[in-house]
């Protein structure tokens, strides 16, 4: 990797402590520009905190969070290149969606009004109704439209689909991919609807308990685990020595999710043992990885507790 290029996003040992919990626990991360990133993880994993700290809207307790090599906090140069609409974004009390877009046009230098208007139609948003009278889905649509039409160099979408129906979500994904193809930029999309977004992500960052537990290209992640099903005893010998993410069994049958790649020889061996191999979807992998991480953390905590 060329370390000369300034990454779009960089975190160096960032920790954010709230009164009773660590929202970010010594997080280091480096993301190159002009790609679509998925920031995945459960609620409370630290996704929003990470984005708040990066954009200078929130404050870390220690460490450094940089955008294009600089802190965003009170830095108009950097701020003018980013857009971060929160999941629970607040708007001035008497604003209509149209007025919100009008002010976005004032601040985002790449703002595309025609694109925004097209999105308003796509989402069937009533542009003149006051925002506080919009439904939850329409409120999300306002944020999505600002995020897309701002064409900021780095755009953060924080769970942008809340209350959006399946059709509206698909419109969002389609427009995002289309517009990204024409105007490449850095998109960071936090989501827990992993299967839905899996196809548009180029790179995945998975968080749990304030830590990053996976940071890899989506393509390489998809092949990093597999599920093997069949006779429990055969599976036992087949997966011996491998990292098991998940295990299910019913009578003499078992299904085990295993981390790692398989060689041709191993595939043949599995076939000989009468075992079925299946790829693991990104969502399943995320669920397994997260649960495995939680278990490990719990065990560690138990050990620490025992030592006390």
């Amino acid at each position: 990797m060329n370390s000369q290029i300034t990454p779009a996003v960089e975190l160096r040992q960032v920790t954010k402590t709230y009164r009773d919990a660590k929202a970010l626990d010594n997080v280091s991360l480096r993301l190159e520009g002009d790609r679509i990133y998925g920031l995945l993880g459960r609620n409370g994993a630290g996704k929003t905190t990470l984005m708040s700290v990066l954009t200078g809207q929130g404050f870390q307790s220690s460490g450094e969070a940089l955008i294009f090599g600089q802190r965003a906090y009170e830095n108009d140069d950097v701020l003018s290149r980013i857009c971060f609409i929160r999941e629970s974004q607040k708007y001035p009390d008497d604003f209509s969606a149209k007025q919100a877009f009008k002010s976005a046009a004032l601040f985002f230098k790449n703002w595309d009004q025609a694109f925004a208007e097209r999105l308003v139609e796509d989402f069937q948003l009533p542009p003149k109704r006051r925002i506080k009278k919009l439904s939850r889905g329409q409120l999300s649509a306002v944020g999505v439209i600002i995020g897309l039409a701002s064409r900021a160099d780095i755009t953060f979408f924080d769970e942008p689909y809340l209350g959006l129906d399946a059709v509206a979500r698909q419109i969002f994904y389609d427009r995002l991919v289309e517009d990204f193809a024409e105007n490449p930029r850095t998109i960071i999309l936090s989501s827990h609807l992993i299967d839905e977004v899996a196809n548009l992500l180029e790179h995945v960052v998975l968080m749990d308990g304030g830590r990053i537990i996976m940071d890899d290209d989506a393509d390489s992640i998809r092949g990093t685990a597999f599920t093997v099903a069949g006779n429990a005893t055969s599976i036992q010998s087949f997966v011996a020595g491998r990292e098991v993410l998940h295990r299910e069994s019913l009578g003499s049958l078992a299904s085990v999710t295993v981390q790692g790649r398989l060689s041709e020889v191993e595939r043949a061996e599995a076939a000989e043992l009468g075992l079925d191999l299946a790829p693991v979807s990104l969502q399943q992998l995320v669920v397994r990885k997260t649960m495995a991480a939680t278990d490990t953390a719990a065990e560690n905590d138990a050990e620490v507790g025992a030592l006390k």
Binding site: S52, T55, G56, Q57, G58, F59, Y73, E74, N75, D76, L79, S80, I82, C83, F84, I85, R86, Q89, K90, Y91, P92, D93, D94, F95, Q99, A100, K102, S103, A104, L106, F107, F108, G143, I146, A152
Partner: protein
């Protein structure tokens, strides 16, 4: 600087908030005052009204609203806290100055029309009207800015520390005021304090208020610097 102007333009996208409602309040307060005066039997005695204050209290509320709703939105618009502060307070100062000049001009009309034909005093209060025009305008201006900044600062404190912040602030203010009152009583300073108040002129009141505004402005800014939307 340019983006601070954009913050002001953003605040004005909905003309109603910063311009429409204050205008309605001022016109309504004026008309209601006239109506009341007209109902009082004419006895040749001058009648007074404090209706000029009405719009000033609205600005206290506006200060709160700018911070609670417009600040989180400005963060989403990638505006720094500093720029938001300069743009918002700057816009408000311009509006307050315009209203102050308007009050002064209305005061001239009031004097010329013998108190709107009703011998009333609304804009050209005796205490104020004798002063230099600049002092009159300054007095209105500073008073409005002070009220706006009070609202703005309290809203910022609430934003950062929620109910705990409010509670501590109010208790601290109460303790300081009671302490001062106690000290004055204990030292037997009340007569001197009374004389001091009587001796104040519009100019000196404006001066003290300006000092107060500086404290409020500085405090608000420092509180806002670490506020999270």
């Amino acid at each position: 600087m340019n983006s601070a102007v954009n913050v002001a333009r953003m605040q004005l996208i909905n003309k109603w908030t910063f311009l429409g409602i204050p205008a309605v309040i001022m016109v309504a307060a004026f008309l209601i005052t006239l109506a009341i005066w007209a109902m009082i039997p004419a006895t040749g005695v001058t009648v007074y009204s404090g209706a000029v204050q009405a719009v000033m209290w609205y600005f206290l509320a506006l200060g709160v609203q700018s911070l609670t709703l417009t600040f989180p939105f400005s963060q989403a618009m990638s505006v720094s806290r500093r720029t938001f502060y300069i743009g918002t307070v700057g816009l408000f100062a311009v509006v307050a100055l315009a209203i102050s000049v308007l009050y002064y001009l209305l005061g001239l009309v009031e004097v010329a029309t013998n108190g709107w034909g009703l011998n009333g005093q609304l804009y050209a209060l005796d205490w104020l009207a004798g002063s230099n025009p600049v002092v009159q305008i300054l007095f209105y201006f500073i008073t409005m800015v002070a009220l706006f900044m009070i609202g703005f600062w309290f809203a910022t404190i609430y934003r950062r520390w929620q109910a705990t912040g409010m509670l501590i602030s109010w208790i601290a203010i109460a303790v300081v005021l009671i302490g001062l009152a106690g000290l004055t009583t204990w030292q037997g300073w009340w007569p001197a304090v009374g004389q001091w108040f009587v001796a104040q002129t519009p100019l000196t009141v404006s001066g003290w208020a300006a000092l107060f505004c500086l404290v409020l402005g500085g405090g608000s800014y420092l509180t806002l610097r670490r506020a999270v939307p």
